[in-house]
């Protein structure tokens, strides 16, 4: 019996996967998501890249050598550099603040910028300026042979920003990508489940299927098949994000940001498990496909809430108590908790507690949804209400 149970359920899973992967819309959605994710991986790398023209100030020391160093840095970073000689450091700083200057090379000691680059200075004009400025200093001070060996071990000048960069922006950026992805994946695959169940019901094919399948087999097969596709899509998207990020040296795939990606995948799994049967139950209540959107509104609102409010957390300082609370409500936790993790606002025990709440409520949700599904899937007539289905004696 158990063996047979899985044999039939596996057939349902395979059918779901085959039907979905044969649909053009699935591949179109996948490509769009891949492009979006690729953009998310590339944007931080681009943001940390160069501008086409820059005004560089030079202060103190050998003005000719400093000017040469600045022009050389511009050549390396393909930036048209205008060199301006500034009388002293104080006026250089004032001009940096006003935006009149983009960077200042202070003879042999440091590079000044308005704000340190969010994603690191490697490859930027300021970074190159620091390197070239460092070379110049070394070659002036030492015999060429010694200078070459010193230069090889790195001679970059320190870069000082006048105002500090925002903390952990890379992981915040990744957190936003993760929040969007969880929201999009759960809602799109959830809607597919609702529409699929509704289609089986309205076409009456479910009557034929249920002569050999038990409702719970059909339900299990459907959410598992869709889940497998969702996870395959997520794996492809996460893989694309990480691969592109590494290839471009994007800080979005380094350190804490990696942890956010991992947390995102785990919470997506939890969120899908929590929501998938509920979407199936919604599908069992409807008789026309047009009703699918209305029937799933109660399931979409919490996700939308968690996603929209994520912006206020990711791009502001501090987390409101309300959003913190959302991370412990099973309906919103799958989006809210990864966001808290991305901004570093969730200690480990909170993450564990939220996961435990989500898993426990998933058990309750699956039972409730399966009951609704079993009772409603063979009921014909108009659209059903949850209360009406639960009140009925099966």
């Amino acid at each position: 019996m158990t063996g047979n149970w899985w044999t039939l359920t596996r057939l349902v899973i395979k059918r779901e996967i085959r039907e979905r992967t044969q649909a053009k819309s699935f591949w179109i959605a996948t490509v769009i998501l891949l492009i979006a994710v690729a953009a998310a991986a590339v944007i931080p790398a681009v943001l940390s890249g160069h501008r086409s023209t820059a005004r560089v100030g030079v202060v103190g020391g050998d003005t000719v050598a400093l000017t040469q160093a600045a022009l050389e840095a511009g050549r390396i970073t393909e930036t048209t550099v205008n060199v301006i000689t500034v009388p002293d450091v104080a006026s250089a700083k004032a001009q940096l603040r006003s935006g009149n200057l983009d960077a200042v090379l202070v003879g042999g000691t440091e590079v000044l910028v308005k704000q340190n680059a969010v994603f690191g200075s490697k490859g930027t004009l300021a970074g190159t300026l620091a390197q070239v400025g460092g070379f110049a200093k070394v070659y002036q001070a030492l015999p060429p042979a010694v200078a070459a060996s010193v230069a090889r071990s790195g001679v970059g000048l320190p870069i000082h920003g006048l105002i500090p960069p925002p903390q952990g922006l890379a992981s915040r950026f990744t957190g936003l990508a993760v929040a969007i992805l969880i929201y999009v994946i759960i809602i799109t695959f959830g809607m597919r489940i609702t529409i699929g169940v509704g289609e089986e019901k309205s076409s009456r094919v479910v009557e034929v299927l249920l002569t050999t399948l038990r409702p719970v087999q059909l339900l299990t097969g459907k959410v598992t098949g869709m889940g497998a596709l969702a996870m395959a899509q997520v794996a492809a998207l996460a893989g694309c994000y990480l691969a592109l990020g590494y290839a471009l040296g994007s800080p979005a795939v380094q350190g804490a940001a990696i942890g956010v990606v991992v947390a995102g995948v785990v919470w997506l799994l939890l969120g899908y498990a929590f929501y998938c049967t509920a979407y199936a139950a919604a599908g069992s209540l409807i008789t026309r496909q047009a009703d699918a959107y209305n029937a799933t509104i109660p399931l979409q609102v919490p996700l939308i809430l968690g996603y929209v409010l994520a912006y206020t957390v990711l791009f502001a300082d501090g987390v409101s108590w309300f959003y913190h609370l959302l991370a412990f409500v099973p309906f919103t936790a799958p989006v809210a908790m990864p966001v808290l993790i991305a901004v570093g606002a969730a200690p480990l025990w909170e993450i564990a507690l939220s996961a435990a709440i989500t898993i426990a409520s998933t058990v309750v949700m699956v039972r409730l949804a399966a009951t609704i599904y079993e009772r409603a899937i063979l009921r014909t007539g108009g659209r059903l209400k949850v209360r009406q289905v639960l009140a009925s004696v099966s």
Binding site: E19, E200, S203, R204, V208, T211, T212, R375, L378, S394
Partner: protein, 319 residues
């Protein structure tokens, strides 16, 4: 009764939807190897009973047994069911769909592949096998639906209104397959609300009305039972005036352009009718008239099997 031979037994089926009684202590048996019609006006409870047989509707009380046992998961894989409102995935290809249903009924991959093609060919939709079901005409969709019910070589066929919506060619193809399956030993129950249209296809029938059994038995027996009737035509008597000389045992039921149908107390009186006719002139036609199934219905219920509003079907079932 109550045996391993494939007999389907319905005993005391009862189902109510609120105030509406869909099945009211319905009992009858379906022997294997016969084309068995399950007849009655729309709303009589046929669909509810059939859904209960295949396990997609529950009963308030009563039992369904097949081969002497309640129908469990094992037995269900050997049932072929065709629902009244057809049930196929609209966007799935014909072969794929048939294969899938065959596999759900326990067939291996290779056997399912072969059976899907066999039945699609057999029902004349083999050339459309790679098309999506929704791209087919309604008649062809119905052929696919029948193929779906037959693809796993079921031993019990439950077909809800298989003839509705079919063109004459489709009706012939469907009848042929039904007769062939019955001859192969399958137990078969098909429903129809058009009693006289399917009369000639059935060997036996169960006729129901308002969820109650009205008549049950072989079509031949049901046709013979009841009052004796003869149809007589006398040459040259286009008005059927000879019938005015009939005795009190004979009652004229109808007179259609001189063909007179007479109802008698028993078969012995038929000779008196023949003598009276002969006395009036040469008898062109003389024969016993079998009751049609609609007449069987009318004789039992007191009115013709008019279609009733589909209140029961609209309320539907619950698992």
């Amino acid at each position: 009764m109550g045996s391993q031979d494939g007999t389907l037994e319905l005993t005391g089926l009862r189902r109510t939807y609120g105030e509406v009684v869909a099945l009211d202590d319905l009992s009858f048996t379906v022997p294997p190897g016969q084309v068995f019609g399950f007849l009655g006006p729309n709303g009589a409870g046929k669909t509810t009973a059939m859904r209960a047989i295949v396990g997609v509707a529950s009963l308030d009380s009563g039992t369904v047994r097949w081969n002497g046992e309640p129908i469990g998961p094992q037995a269900r894989s050997r049932i072929g069911y065709m629902p009244e409102e057809r049930g196929l995935y609209p966007a799935m290809r014909v072969f794929e769909q048939l294969e899938y249903l065959a596999r759900l009924h326990g067939m291996g991959a290779a056997a399912a592949h072969a059976a899907a093609r066999h039945w699609a060919d057999r029902l004349g939709v083999g050339s459309r096998g790679e098309d999506k079901v929704e791209a087919l005409s309604l008649g062809n969709q119905q052929r696919v639906q029948l193929a779906a019910a037959l693809v796993h070589d079921p031993k019990l066929l439950v077909l809800d209104e298989p003839f509705s919506g079919l063109d004459p060619v489709g009706v012939d193809a469907m009848s042929e397959v039904l007769a062939e399956r019955a001859a192969a030993g399958a137990t078969m129950l098909f429903s129809s609300h058009q009693l006289d249209l399917v009369e000639h296809l059935c060997q036996s029938v169960a006729i129901i009305d308002h969820g109650r059994l009205v008549a049950h038995g072989s079509v031949a027996e049901l046709g013979r039972a009841g009052k004796v009737r003869v149809s007589v035509r006398v040459a040259g008597d286009a008005a059927g005036r000879w019938a005015e000389h009939l005795g009190p045992a004979a009652q004229v039921e109808s007179n259609t352009d001189g063909t007179v149908v007479v109802t008698l107390r028993d078969r012995a009186d038929a000779q008196d009718v023949l003598d009276t006719a002969r006395a009036a002139g040469p008898v062109e036609q003389f024969g016993f008239v079998r009751r049609r199934l609609s007449e069987v219905f009318r004789d039992a219920v007191g009115h013709a099997p008019q279609d009733e509003p589909k209140a029961v079907a609209a309320i539907g079932g619950s698992s």
